[in-house]
Symmetry: C2
Subunit: 448 residues, 2 copies
């Protein structure tokens, strides 16, 4: 509440400054202390939270708004309405992305793009993607309200099906993922049919493609989805980049036998080998200094009966870090220990990488802009990697990219308990606004 009150006060003071047209200011103009409308942003998020909420539920029950579902379709109509209120004329591209452009004063400049997504995981929360999307619209609405001109065109993009392999943003940069051919999305709807449901056109996907170098930059505000900012009590995170991800499948073959009649020493228990693997992954990750993570998230036992010694276990190993070299090095260390565990437990262990995502580094100059914007607003920052994937990783393929993080209470995400305080939402949107204005001012100045 205090944070919001402070914003409203600052907004009042800013009114005078707003009368000076930005285009007219000198070489090193001071950007006035504009503020987004925090109450309107909250209202937009609360309104969005109704799409995919269980019948009779409340905001704190979160949403299941999986891409292509009825809830997704309805929420997109809602977002388009908000875009129109902000003065935009939203269009849907062949990949189902919703975009709206506010013209700039200099037609020769490339657009500054802001965005995120509004589809959710099943049983998700009200902030992942939603905050960045609603804040981008709110920033445009603020520019309209306060009649702030920009040199660059400013674009809002709400990317389709982010939770399904960043489908929409990948198509927008011409790297349509192989998964697009998958028979069904998380909503159980075929990708082609799903895309048609949201107004896309699977046969014209190429038309959604943006050329490398066609944007000034891409900015995305997002909740951290981890607990680093929350624990440190820091309101703004400056993202260094989106991590590299390696996923392995580990197959452990032992020998299934009667658990009552097979003496302990003669056993080839695949689950005992798997237990050692799970601990090894954890130990190797914890022994190495840094912000990498390594997880065994999925594990399946065959035949999986109380009275049968497990003959087969399959489990995943996922490793993430900004450095692809470190991810590979940790994977190799785990594979080496797997061979030792196989020998100890008389099992056969095969470890196979089935997924690899290159890291996407944030542009250092844009990171500096976020830092200075936050400093101007009196907000502390810290640098951190993004452990989760985002649409920004795709946009980084065609232009400079940066992300602003705000705290997730207790680091909870992909859960109905996901929570970012309204004050932190407003802080993030204000940093987004100010970063955008600083980029617009400086890159227009550099161009002149």
């Amino acid at each position: 509440m205090n944070v919001i009150n402070r914003r409203i006060m600052l907004q009042g003071l800013a009114t005078l400054a707003a009368t000076i047209p930005v285009r007219a200011v000198a070489k090193n103009p001071r950007i006035p202390a504009r503020s987004i409308n925090a109450a309107r942003l909250q209202q937009a998020l609360e309104g969005l939270s109704k799409f995919g909420r269980r019948a009779g539920g409340s905001f704190s029950d979160g949403v299941s708004r999986v891409a292509y579902s009825d809830a997704d379709v309805a929420s997109r109509a809602y977002a388009m309405e908000l875009m129109r209120n902000a003065g935009l004329n939203p269009t849907i591209d062949a990949a189902g992305n919703l975009t709206g452009r506010r013209p700039g004063s200099d037609p020769s400049l490339k657009p500054i793009v802001m965005g995120s997504h509004i589809d959710s995981v099943p049983g998700g929360g009200n902030f992942d993607g939603d905050l960045g999307s609603m804040a981008a619209i709110e920033v445009i609405h603020t520019l309209k309200d306060q009649q702030i001109p920009t040199h660059h065109p400013i674009e809002v993009a709400i990317w389709s099906n982010e939770e399904g392999y960043t489908m929409g943003s990948a198509a927008a940069v011409g790297s349509v993922p192989a998964q697009f051919a998958d028979p069904t999305s998380k909503a159980g709807i075929a990708a082609r049919e799903g895309l048609q449901r949201i107004g896309g056109d699977p046969d014209r996907l190429e038309s959604a493609r943006r050329a490398p170098g066609s944007i000034r930059c891409y900015l995305e505000l997002h909740i951290e989805q981890g607990g680093i900012l929350d624990q440190a009590g820091i309101p703004i995170g400056v993202v260094d980049g989106i991590v590299c991800i390696d996923q392995y499948e580990v197959t452990i073959e032992g020998f299934a036998n009667h658990a009552g009649t097979t003496p302990m020493p003669g056993r080839q228990d695949a689950l005992i080998a798997a237990a050692k693997m799970v601990q090894t992954v954890n130990e190797i990750a914890r022994a190495e200094p840094g912000r990498h993570v390594a997880t065994v998230g999925k594990l399946e036992v065959t035949p999986n009966a109380a009275n049968v010694i497990p003959g087969l276990v399959r489990h995943t190993v996922e490793i993430r870090d900004l450095s692809a070299e470190k991810v590979a090095k940790l994977g190799a260390a785990i594979a080496k220990r797997a061979d030792q565990i196989a020998a100890q437990t008389k099992t056969k262990i095969v470890m196979k990488r089935y997924f690899h995502l290159e890291p996407a580094l944030a542009d250092p100059a844009l990171q500096a802009k976020i830092e200075s914007a936050a400093a101007n607003l009196g907000l502390k920052t810290m640098h951190l990697p993004s452990g989760a994937g985002h649409d920004a990783q795709e946009l980084a393929k065609i232009g400079p990219m940066a992300m602003i993080f705000v705290p997730s209470v207790n680091g909870v995400s992909h859960s109905p308990h996901e929570l970012t305080r309204w004050g932190d939402c407003a802080n993030g949107a204000n940093v987004l606004l100010r970063t955008l204005l600083e980029i617009d001012r400086d890159s227009a100045r550099d161009a002149t």
Copy 2:
């Protein structure tokens, strides 16, 4: 092959002795070296293996002859035919048990009962239950062929649905298991309907009940289903008893979170706790001297996705030993370590016993009879517990019980690869025959 040849030779020598009626012999009569017909026993097992074999398969493909299935129904008709050939008049009791009685010379004596089962697990082998059933019929057939009278009536029982909680034998001793009310058996057929399919009567189950003390004893020949005899190269196992079984469900609650964004130190990973539990169960069992076993056979992870830290794991712990005290002590030691693991991993661990089976001890006098019978046949013996459950554990509730084990190659069981060599099958059946004759002689003598 050598063993079988030796039997055939002995059988020839025994023909003379067989002309002396057993009833007429003096106080300490020498039992002649009778032998069962090993070729006929093999033929009976090979014939039985056709019921539940996959189309186009061979003997080594094993069987799926789950209770109440069509294969079970057909195999029971086959067994009744063999019983008739052996001179018995088989009947089906209300619990679906097939029984046949050969009268003894002394109507005041209680029956000696031999038997086992012919239903199998899905994907089972050709020896578990089958050997004891076919051998019991073969012993009766041998008594008929060689015109050997007995004092006691001798009964063959093929118990129904052994693999489903020893259903038939439990009903026969009046302890119908709670599972009888279960909606479906392993064949996916309701227990009541299934029982009707095999000629039983669920409404008259009480009529199948035998009173405590109503049998002289119960003898069961069975494959070991473990590798102890096979590894030691000993042809005959004298079973000390059927083990006590405790089964626990362990529930581990951690906190599910994004595997990419949650730093290693803040995690409450239920699978890491489970991995420590799996290793603890193994370590505690191996540290304690003895023949007990402890197994984590079933383990399930929630939500079970590569990119989510496991929030919940449920797994079983099964402990078996002849001593119920030892089983309880091992369970308590594991539960104590569970508390420490919960504290270390910041998880909540609840360990709950959901199944308990009392041990069933074999009668020492009968064990001595098996030893002397084997010694008389020149076969080495060793004592061992039965780690698996058997119909004998039920029969022990109404009279003295003993079991004869023969080797399982590599200890494999409940698998198509289950194998007991024909020579070992014949050895077991011969020990069964001779044990029966020794009991008959001595208990008749004691009664006079």
